[in-house]
Amino acid sequence: MIPKEKLMEMYEKMVRIRRFEEKAVELFLKGALPGFLHSSIGQEAVSVGACAALREDDYMISTHRGHGDIIAKGARVDLMMAELFAKKTGYCKGKGGSMHIADLDLGILGATGIVGAGLPIINGAALACQLKGTDQVSLCFFGDGASNTGSFHEALNMASIWNLPVIFVCQNNLYAESTPQWVHQKIQDISVRAQGYGIPGVSVDGNNVLTVYRATSEAVERARGKGGPTLIECKTYRWLGHYVGDPGTAYRTKEEVEQWKSRDPVKQYRANLLANGVCEEKDLDAIDRRLEREIEEAVEFARNSPDPDPEDALQDVYIGEYIP
């Protein structure tokens, strides 16, 4: 039995992600945000279900499509929004932007813009915990496209042979940019690749937050108990294009998109909570309203924050002085 508090927290996080992402898209389309933006709308159940299985002192690493993951691990939306706005108060002081948000105090080891590059790094975090003798686990998100990178293979093999406390969570949204899964790999269930490393692998419905939570919890338990790594594939869908600006229509049918939208992970979970009598509609509405405000305030904070000074660009290259 999952305690009510936990159930409600998951709902809250899913809605926080949805609202954050919607707002970010809106702002981007208005030209308020520089750079690119990869929306994770539609994938909330994976981010939240997986991170809900972690402790605050566990580690997580994310991807170019990372806002959802990062919020799920506890990141502050005001500092995130400020980063999207390229402000000095942002998580990365405006140096990283959407693709590189980190909060090491929350165990968020950042996000990388290089597809697949997070997998080798997460092993190091897990190794550090193993060497220090803690029972912390480390989790890595990555996409279906990333599962074809050399990094995926090298990292899963290393994790398996060193029995590292890692959970590899594949967010299979069926596309790598414009390339459908069947064009980039012959297998359907990415979890079968686990067999090549002698580790457990499982494929689950990535639009059901509780399913993801349960699968991840099992993997976390195994990892904490020195049982080694697990590969979890969560089948899900991104509603929008690869990045804001790509309508996502050149390579997907309207029907496909609509069909997946009808399986909205947030709505489904809301219905589930009500159907199971976990709470009442008004409780959820209250959360919705609170988050609406929270996101507005985050935008406010971001807008009112100062830009970085141009010369700040020369800081943080090294610990110590800039090397001219």
Partner: protein, 324 residues
């Protein structure tokens, strides 16, 4: 003469060579239906079919390796690496295999292939999507490195690159694709290894590459108000480098300013400075000057990004210092 964009000119060059030579084919991520992230290959799938316009998995090493294998059998592949930042994943194939097979095999292999990629900053794409790594590839014997700055050059050079029997790294710039310029209707080629004097002048030689050629030209224009006539030399190909044209220009002007977008330390500008200090020492009336990106990763925030990347003002300032 008609004016078309850099993107269109490049696409025309690819199309003409594909029509001309059956052994030419394209492979890369999202280059088919999607037409490539920067839409260079749009329409080519429809024209040449999926065998010759091939979407790949996210597997840069496999993409470039496949290009090499096919070239060894007499094909002329054009592999696209979406961002030069991702070429790091294929760099064993590029630097250890492609560049060296002919030599290692005692002159028997022919690695006639082109790797098209794009680099450069200016879109707030942050540290992993905005690098300029031409100096790396110029350091590896066996490769040729081409870096066109105008629609005219990009078309003439892509055609020559595809016909060249040697492997070529062909580096475009993300902010040049929309630039327009005159391109003849009739076929033409530009020799690999021939610099272009983009503007004649007698007071100072500015050697600039890629997008910086445009900025150097604007700076040169502005400098006429000081009564300064700057000569702007665009090497167009870094390897082989047209030393003669550069040295002749220095002989005329006695002053050398080098502009590029890569980090200054060990950038290609160092090679040009070294060349001049070896072979034009007695022609120089003043120290050489490099105007290049700061030695930092590329920051996300537009204000910081424009601070680290050279702009017209920095070029003008550099010239004034040289002449001062």
């Amino acid at each position: 003469m008609r004016e078309i964009t850099y993107r269109e000119a490049l696409r025309e060059g690819l199309r003409e060579e594909m029509k001309r030579d059956e052994t030419v084919f394209l492979l890369g991520e999202d280059i088919a239906e999607f037409g490539g992230t920067y839409k260079v290959t749009q329409g080519l799938l429809e024209e040449f079919g999926p065998a010759r316009v091939r979407n790949t998995p996210i597997s840069e090493a496999a993409i470039v390796g496949a290009a090499l294998g096919a070239a060894l059998l007499g094909m002329r592949p054009v592999a696209e690496i979406m961002y030069i930042d991702f070429s790091t994943i294929a760099i064993d194939q590029i630097a250890n295999q492609i560049a060296k097979v002919r030599y290692m095999f005692g002159g028997k292999a022919r690695a006639s292939l082109v790797i098209r990629t794009q680099g450069g900053a200016g879109r707030s794409s942050a540290a992993q999507h905005a690098q300029s790594l031409e100096a790396w590839y110029s350091h590896i014997p066996g490769l040729k490195v081409v870096m066109p700055s105008t629609p005219y050059d990009v078309k003439g050079l892509i055609k020559s690159s595809i016909r060249d029997d040697n492997p070529i790294l062909f580096i475009e710039h993300k902010l040049l694709y929309n630039e327009k310029g005159p391109v003849p209707e009739e076929e033409y080629l530009i020799p690999i290894g021939k610099a272009d004097i983009k503007r004649e002048g007698k007071d100072v030689t500015i050697v600039a590459t890629s997008r910086m050629v445009l900025r150097a030209l604007k700076a040169a224009q502005a400098l006429t108000e000081d009564g300064v006539e700057a000569e702007v030399v665009d090497p167009r190909t870094l390897v082989p480098l047209d030393e003669e044209t550069i040295l002749q220009s220095i002989k005329k002007t006695g002053r050398l300013l080098i502009v590029h977008e890569a980090s200054k330390r060990c950038g290609f500008g160092a090679e040009i400075a070294a060349l001049a200090s070896e072979k034009a020492f007695y022609d120089l009336d003043a120290p050489i000057k490099r105007v290049a990106a700061a030695n930092t990763p590329v920051p996300f925030a537009p204000k910081m990004e424009s601070f680290v990347i050279p702009d017209e003002r920095a070029i003008i300032k550099g010239v004034r210092e040289l002449l001062g």
